[in-house]
Symmetry: C2
Subunit: 244 residues, 2 copies
DNA sequence: CCAAAAGTGTTGGTACTACACCCATGC
DNA sequence: GCATGGGTGTAGTACCAACACTTTTGG
């Protein structure tokens, strides 16, 4: 009792059960105005032929965060592209993997312009699935507890758009304000008012910075729009709340 | 390469390094208008005589969340008291414990009226330390990466007061609005405007529910205040943001 | 070739809500 | 003396409308 209460005392290597620690990645992107998540098809048992979040095991001398970054690079092939990566939560139910005890640390990644299939490795069985409202899950069978993880990840992204400038992680390096509004529309299922949105974004120092004298080529007619680049700010004050 | 990308394929028990998985608890309470955190004194190496977050290892067939609940009950002695407990984040640097590879899942717990020392177990080396602004850390030597965890935990609690009704987790079962305002003062270091605060709390359905015809005994003179109980609501809409 | 129409981007205005700050009243 | 409630100015949002700049269409 005493040894249990005092952290790590009575330590005896081998006395602790072998846990495997894995990372799972919820990689989101926006294509054609829709929020999509990358899933990989499972080749072996269990959950064979089901779809799962990309991920893998943490190495013996590897930081958990580093493992997430490594897996992200391996799965997406985006090595030096600016991708937002943050920890989501840890899932540790004892029966979440039927083969052995695996504790999984889930991460959320946001990227713009993700290619359909990963470029590195065997690209055959990885693809993007739309995350549709209101159930927020891809319409495929999901392995392990990944349905739960995806739900949590979607909610994380939705709420983070409210009080951070994270929307810029979903657009390419230069973009127009309509693109940024489209991020909110895709993630929330509804867009904030355009006029207020533009006032808010432009009034928040460091949210976006204008690209000098640059205008986007008009595609199908209409006034050409101004180009912007991601700014240094990360927090939104006050927050931009989605309505009820 | 192929086996690494496909989750859990090429599985071989024993091929994975032995990780120990632990839980750390950031247990907060408010005493005399001050935010305090529970720390335990380490008896053995490493970090002997330093202070650390209470915690322990996850059992072989125990869910990680369940381990946090168990440790909380063991450390605080609060068995059936309503305590808020939520996962904070996972800390997995390879060298965070000098003896072996330990991945720790940190939790935040909020409680009202925590006794000075834990009631169960050896109460001698556990106590509450004030979390003072602006550095937000107890003025003691902290073991492992627990200083970082405490910083993250404090920030979590601060931000959660903004958009949830979590402040009620810090007050006893029945309370007056001034007590609730005191929670915000203690956690944020500054209190919102009293008049607006009371309008907001009372206008939010389910934040607090009045205890019928109950008034608190006037302690030092003045009008007796109305008693309230925690309501069923958990989210605050719109948020109550702390100023800059 | 020029003028009008249509489409998109940009800006402004008003009603309403919520908050900061202050003050009056009740017990 | 503390609890409660009201009042005013300001900021931010929802909603609406107009204007600017471009391409397309039609004479």
């Amino acid at each position: 009792m005493t040894g249990e209460n005092t952290f790590l005392d009575g330590y005896d290597p081998g006395a602790f059960p072998p846990f495997a620690v894995a990372v799972d990645l919820a990689v989101f992107t926006i294509r054609e105005g829709q929020l999509e998540i990358m899933l990989v098809r499972r080749a072996g048992h269990p959950f064979q032929d089901d779809w799962a979040l990309p991920g893998g095991f943490v190495g013996p001398d590897e930081a958990v965060d580093a493992a997430a970054g490594r897996e992200l690079a391996e799965e997406t092939g985006l090595t030096n592209v600016a991708v937002h990566l943050e920890q989501l939560a840890t899932y540790g139910a004892p029966d979440r993997d039927p083969r052995m005890r695996v504790v999984s640390v889930a991460y959320v990644a946001l990227a713009a312009d993700l290619p359909e299939a990963r470029s590195g490795g065997d690209a055959s069985d990885a693809r993007l699935w739309p995350v549709e409202s209101p159930d927020d899950l891809p319409a495929v069978a999901l392995a392990f507890d990944h349905a739960r993880i995806i739900r949590d990840a979607v909610e994380r992204v939705r709420s983070k758009l409210e009080y951070t400038t994270l929307a810029t992680a979903f657009v390419p390096e230069t973009f127009v304000l309509a693109d940024l509004l489209g991020v909110y529309r895709a993630v929330w299922g509804r867009a904030p008012d355009l006029a207020n949105f533009r006032r808010k974004v432009l009034a928040t120092p460091g949210f976006v910075v204008p690209v000098a004298d640059a205008k986007r080529q008009p595609t199908g007619g209409g006034r050409p729009s101004a180009l912007y680049r991601k700014g240094p700010a990360s927090l939104l004050h006050p927050a931009m709340l989605r309505g009820r």
